[in-house]
Symmetry: C2
Subunit: 210 residues, 2 copies
DNA sequence: CTTCAACCTGACCATACGGTCAGGATTGGA
DNA sequence: TCCAATCCTGACCGTATGGTCAGGTTGAAG
């Protein structure tokens, strides 16, 4: 017991605290933007003294950077759904499913990401130019191959990707607007399914695979 | 001359200054967010002393409110393209064209709007609940009528509208990301046309009118 | 038990921000 | 020409914010 727990105790506390702070930060950054967010607000949200945040994250920008990186990771992992798919119907369908699920489960993260990009990507510009660019080129090639093989209607793969990003992330980023237009109530399970199916139906039919 | 110019002079100056300030504010709010924007930055951008801004707009929030309202107006006017259309191909096609044009010509405005909604629409919530809701209901009915008349494939009109908003506004809100993935260069005239045509092709085929 | 590093935090500081205001300049009607 | 209204702004103020730090607490290795 002691022999196994003790060595982990310190590391655990650190991981837990960091995670707690990051979660609170994600929410506050999403709701107030980087400029509108304050360390005090994040501290209150996390139930910790402000000075404690500065113990784990030197500056507000460091904390923000970490939040953005985490989201980027989740974002990229959604790509796995697209890999190893037999064709566009399966691959793109699964990708839409995955991204809609992310919009539902990580709405704050999606907003932070949107905000970061809208402001000119001051902290993740290098990621855009390396990781994201490579990822995009790769997927575009996959789509192009599907087109060449006659598995789907011809289109510019990049614009198709933009469309997928836009439509799926819209449900997170503009969730408040959608909620308002839904009578002030969040989308129910059924409505989320309808949204997902609706997006898939139009996109898949739009690229000629339905 | 004097009789006609003089009475306008004062009003003209006022209109020009207000417009100048609003334009600068739109850009700064778009690039820094409400919280990150400062009156000093806006003043510098407009080439005016900070105190002058406060002469025309009592508070930062007043200025912001005006910026958001202006964008909302432009946004709603795009709806005119959809009105009086014979069918979905014409109506929705024209609406996409109009919204893509707005994304190109008013990228700052689009970002401010996105930011406002993402942060829970603190200053235009009432507009969302009245004007936007009415507008949306109206258009949804038009689309439903097209569906009932067999002019397009069945779908939830609201989700179709969300898709149109998402895809078109994405080119403004995520313009920086698109630019980065375009080799760091803004979309050319040809690329904008390609984007517009690409979106229209997928959406129109997606609702079965191509 | 001792020791040391990691962890924690109340109190504090310099700065930058939104906003104010007194007083000056300009305009235009009488 | 005079005067009142409008326009303009440098200097100023209170506050809130990001960040610091000295000094205390806790955990665990020896």
């Amino acid at each position: 017991m002691t022999a196994q727990d003790r060595p982990l105790r310190r590391a655990e506390i650190r991981r837990e605290r960091e995670s707690l702070i990051l979660k609170a930060a994600e929410k506050v950054f999403a709701e107030a933007g980087f400029g509108g967010a304050t360390m005090q607000l994040i501290a209150d949200m996390a139930g910790l003294p402000k000075a404690n945040l500065h113990y784990y994250f030197a500056t507000k920008e460091d904390l923000y950077r970490q939040v953005v990186r985490n989201i980027f990771e989740i974002w990229l992992h959604a790509a796995d759904s697209m890999d190893g798919a037999a064709g566009p119907a399966e691959g793109i369908g699964a990708y839409i499913d995955a991204k809609m699920e992310i919009s539902r489960r990580h709405p704050f993260g999606s907003k932070v990401w949107a905000s970061e990009v809208m402001h000119g990507a001051p902290v993740i510009q290098d990621y855009l130019e390396t990781t994201l660019r490579d990822w995009t080129e790769g997927r575009a090639q996959v789509i192009q191959r599907w087109i060449d093989a006659g598995l789907m209607a011809p289109c510019d793969p990049k614009h198709l990707l933009y469309m997928l990003w836009a439509t799926t992330q819209h449900y997170a980023d503009f969730g408040h607007q959608i909620e308002t237009l839904n009578g002030g109530k969040p989308l129910s399970d059924k409505q989320w399914k309808a949204a997902k199916d609706g997006v898939k139906a139009i996109v898949l039919r739009g690229i000629g695979v339905l």
